[in-house]
């Protein structure tokens, strides 16, 4: 019989504060040193920037003390560190390119932090979201279809995933990551029994019944639709990966992963055959140094190769902030922000940043393991995996593990929609982790009656 030791539940808010000081300190130092590296003087606006970042961190920290005292103490500092480092790199590229992206990014950070705070304050219990399962589905559809509308939609760099009102543009598909995660979790926590138990065994895999294949086929068709209509490889891959992962979590059935991989492979093959831009991405990945591929005017491997050159010039320890030439790479502050970071901070810096992401994701998955309800498990697991998959798809593209797609690194890359979405994800994970780590309420003295009898039905999750 297992011995259960009861630990006094600790909120660990003090630990969080300490880590936040560290995170803000590192980010502010990086921001200041960008100026030192480029001009030999500390970056202008350092107090405003440092103060802003510290204020944002403290606001969330205070709200957590107030409304979610048992929330995971590592999630927030990691997010702040990544967001802050991203600001430093964006500022560095501002100096090189004469742009002014960093203030915008700081503004969006603030909006994101407000949104995360709102989630923690307004959402007292994550299980409430389960009520909105089908609202979330509808919202996802609307969000994904918005960019296709004639007036609102915008095509930027070949992908129709933007909407614009006046000078503002936004990627609604980013928010759809969250609504889809809510929908998948809510739907699958209900449907898991039919999906996991029925079906025949073939070669050690329990295959689902034909009619149960419906949902995965719909998800697959949806992600292919995104690919075809919006020409967005990365988002398509992300949605499908999210669905298969949550499906596997819900059913514990490896066969779903196998089916998912087969469908993905089939879809990828057909997409490769049909679409020129997919073929270009693949050839740019396989033979980036081929002069013909390299020099191709559109869809060539110039960006990827220049990113690799930057990384190589960074070497183990990097050129130092402000001392490299990350601005040679197109989209150095968004899609290729990792190459910029790896050039100036080196392999050491890149490892540290990837480790931060890994910590973030694993704390999210740990939250999923710790939380007691199935919906919470699926939601936290799905959200954490989305972040992980997105990191892999982006970093893998830049590091030439897989073909390049159009996604951006969470928190690090310039881009308001992505930043807002990822802060909301942090808000949700904080909320769920509070439920996971909160000590179970001391059971009230049991009323006499049938409840204490031996015939309770207990369902483990």
């Amino acid at each position: 019989m297992a011995v259960v030791t009861q630990h006094a539940a600790r909120s660990r808010r003090g630990t969080e504060l300490l880590l936040l000081v560290l995170a803000v300190g590192v980010a502010v130092l990086a921001y200041g040193m960008v100026g030192l590296g480029v001009d030999g003087e500390w970056s202008a606006g350092l107090p405003q920037y440092g103060g802003g970042l510290a204020a944002l961190a403290l606001v969330v920290h205070g709200v957590l003390r107030w409304r979610a005292p048992y929330a995971d103490p590592v999630l927030l500092p990691v997010a702040v560190a990544l967001n802050g480092l991203g600001l430093a790199v964006i500022h560095r590229l501002d100096l090189a390119e004469g742009s002014a992206q960093a203030p915008r990014q700081l503004l969006w950070s603030a909006i994101g932090v407000v949104a995360a705070t709102a989630v923690v304050v307004a959402l007292r219990d994550h299980r409430l979201l389960r009520r909105y399962t089908f609202v979330a589905m509808a919202a996802s559809l609307v969000l994904l279809l918005l960019p296709l509308l004639p007036v609102l939609g915008r095509t930027i760099n070949g992908a129709r995933i933007w909407i614009g009102v006046g000078p503002l543009s936004f990627q609604p598909g980013e928010i759809a990551k969250i609504t889809l995660a809510v929908f998948f979790a809510g739907y699958l926590v209900t449907a898991r029994d039919t999906l996991s138990l029925a079906g025949r065994r073939v070669l050690g895999l329990r295959l689902p019944r034909g009619r149960d294949l419906g949902p995965i086929l719909v998800a697959w068709a949806g992600s292919v639709g995104v690919l075809v209509l919006q020409r967005d490889l990365g988002t398509s891959l992300l949605f499908f990966g999210l669905f298969v992962a949550v499906l596997y979590l819900a059913t514990e059935r490896v066969s779903w992963i196998a089916i998912g991989l087969v469908l993905f492979a089939g879809g990828a093959y057909v997409a490769y055959q049909l679409f020129g831009h997919v073929q270009q991405r693949v050839s740019g990945w396989l033979d980036p140094f081929d002069p013909e591929v390299y020099d191709r005017a559109a869809g060539g491997s110039y960006q990827l190769v220049q990113g690799l050159f930057g990384l190589a010039n960074g070497g183990l320890t990097g050129t130092g902030l402000g001392r490299g030439r990350p601005d040679i790479v197109p989209f150095a502050n968004s899609d290729f922000v990792l190459a910029s970071l790896g050039e100036e901070l080196g392999l050491a810096g890149l490892f540290a940043v990837l480790a931060l992401y890994l910590v973030l994701v694993e704390r999210g998955l740990r939250t999923a393991i710790g939380v007691r309800d199935g919906f919470g498990k699926l939601l936290a697991g799905g959200l954490a995996f989305t972040v992980a998959l997105q990191c892999f798809v982006v970093a893998g593209g830049v590091l030439r593990v897989i073909p390049l797609t159009g996604l951006t690194m969470p928190f690090l890359a310039a881009g308001g929609s992505s930043l807002l979405t990822n802060w909301i994800i942090i808000g949700l994970l904080l909320r769920i982790s509070d439920a996971a780590r909160r000590p179970a309420p001391t059971p009230a003295p049991a009323p006499p009656g049938p409840a204490t009898s031996e015939t309770q039905i207990v369902r483990t999750v």
Binding site: A245, Y248, L249, A250, E252, F289, Y294, V305, L308, F309, G310, L311, A312, N313, G314, G315, L316, G324, R325, I328, G342, G346, L347, L350, F351, L354, Y357, L358, V361, E362, L365, R366, A368, I369, G374, K377, L378, G381, A384, F385, A388, L389, C391, F392, A395, G396, L399, R400, V401, V461
Partner: protein, 494 residues
């Protein structure tokens, strides 16, 4: 649901391990190759951001230097060489943002840029003191007046001139013609550079090629008779007075063809000629017969001792000159007069004269006098280095006398300087039909010399491609010898 969550976290960890692995590959394992890729402009940009050291001639005249520039790149490379940058272009080479570097700019690139290992401790102190590191300066052994005289004498004829100091191997002049303006390629306007480079590359006369050390190798023609003569004297069986057969035509064994003299006449009464006279009048049949009668491998060994087959770096990379292997008899006869498949660089020919001038000892050619760090401390000052003894002192003395006769009363009279004993040898190398138009091209005119014969200060080699301005009427003695004379005068009169 906890088991699949744990598995999922393991999958995530594996995905990240894959990223860390590939990051290590890109930034560490494969980084060297990526940095060296010519399309990686960062390596050059990083160097351009530094104050690259100057290249100067032996007198301190600046041949290449970095000057502060406006714009994103801090410095621009300029070539203030006199009378024009083109005079020195093949020595300095160019330093381009787009096409990398050539010449000394390339060969001593890391010293000039300040990134060489030799400068490591200085860089370390720069790091500590926060001083902007700057490159070392390179002083060459080349003498401006000799270089200018060589360039002026060659004019716009295609060809090359190399002058060496026999006792040290120092290069006094190295000219290749036609030349180009390295400043054009060092422009910071990349489009301008691309156009200039494309134009030079398409030019049929190959102005970018340094013919003195790294062009297509030349057939040496009769200047190679010096090597054959040295091989003969070294056997001990021959003296300058040894009598050789010198008919108008030498029938070649195993074939139906025969080797004729250029004059079409016998080299001496009774179809006989002494070794010294054979060299003086450049008698093909006498040297052809030497090639047939000398022990197998004697000429090849002598050629190797004189530097054939050696990959030298002076520090420019020198294409090794070749003496063919496994020759049959008619090929040996042809090789002995410098035809057949013997191929040389002008530097190699100058080395032959220099070895004879230096009592038989061959010195390693060297273009660098010293390399100085920014604080003027000497980083490197190459000492004269022997490559080995190429022939005995007696052989060298005998050859010197024979070469003096060439200039006094032979094929090299155009190289005479009043009051100075010049030793020399001409060559007129048949090149066959190289452009494929059905008729043979005009021969290359060669001359190599050293002077003063008893106290040699300079050894020079001149080649003028396809006879230069004289065309089919050209010969080494008429076309190349006057150029060699002007170079010698520039050295002796200095």
């Amino acid at each position: 649901m906890n088991t699949p969550l744990r598995r999922l976290s393991l999958v995530v960890a594996l995905l990240f391990a894959l990223l860390l692995g590939s990051a290590t590959w890109v930034q560490f394992v494969d980084a060297g190759d990526l940095r060296d890729d010519p399309r990686n402009s960062r390596t050059l940009l990083a160097e351009l951001g530094r104050d690259r050291g100057p290249i100067t001639a032996a007198t301190g005249e600046v041949l290449a230097e970095s000057v502060p520039a406006e714009g994103p790149i801090a410095y621009r490379r300029t070539y203030p060489g006199d009378p024009s940058a083109a005079t020195w272009a093949h020595v300095t080479g160019f330093y381009s943002v787009v096409y990398g570097a050539t010449g000394v700019e390339d060969a001593l690139g890391s010293l000039l840029a300040g990134t060489a290992d030799e400068l490591f401790y200085r860089r370390l102190s720069d790091l500590v003191t926060g001083r902007e590191p700057s490159g070392a300066s390179v002083e060459l052994t080349l003498q401006p007046e000799v270089q200018e005289a060589a360039a002026a004498a060659l004019g716009d004829q295609r060809g090359a001139v190399v002058a060496l100091e026999p006792s040290t191997g120092r290069v006094l002049a190295m000219v290749s013609s036609p030349s180009y303006d390295p400043g054009e390629l060092a422009s910071l306007d990349t489009e301008e550079v691309r156009q200039a480079y494309a134009r030079l590359l398409e030019d049929d006369t190959d102005p970018l090629v340094n013919r003195a050390v790294a062009g297509d190798l030349y057939p040496p023609g009769s200047v190679f008779k010096l090597v054959t003569a040295a091989a003969a004297l070294e056997t001990g069986d021959y003296t300058p007075q040894s009598v050789l057969p010198g008919p108008a035509e030498l029938p070649l064994p195993l074939t139906t063809i025969s080797l004729p003299n250029v004059s079409g006449e016998a080299c001496g009464p009774g179809d006989e000629v002494s070794l010294a006279d054979a060299l003086r009048i450049s008698c093909n049949t006498a040297f052809g017969s030497l090639g047939l009668t000398l022990p197998d491998g004697a000429v090849a060994d002598e050629a190797a001792e004189l530097g054939f087959g050696r990959a030298l770096q002076v520090p420019l990379r020198v294409t090794p000159s070749t003496y063919p292997e496994d020759l049959d008899e008619p090929q040996r006869a042809l090789a002995a007069i410098g035809q057949g498949s013997v191929r040389v660089t002008p530097l190699q020919v100058a080395m032959v004269s220099a070895a004879i001038a230096n009592d038989g000892v061959l010195m390693a050619p060297q273009m660098v006098a010293s390399v100085n760090a920014e604080d003027l401390s000497v980083v490197d000052a190459p000492e004269p280095r022997e490559l080995g003894r190429a022939m005995s002192e007696d052989t060298a003395a005998a050859l010197t006398q024979m070469m003096e006769l060439v200039v006094q009363d032979g094929t090299g009279t155009a190289a005479q300087i009043s009051g100075v004993d010049v030793a020399g040898k001409s060559g007129t190398a048949e090149v066959g039909d190289t452009d494929g138009d059905g008729s043979p091209e005009d021969p290359h005119a060669w001359f190599t010399a050293f002077a003063p014969a008893q106290d040699p200060q300079v050894a020079v080699a001149v080649v003028v491609e396809n006879g230069g301005d004289a065309g089919s009427e050209a010969s080494g003695g008429r076309t190349a010898a006057p150029i060699a004379r002007q170079v010698v005068e520039a050295v002796i009169g200095r």
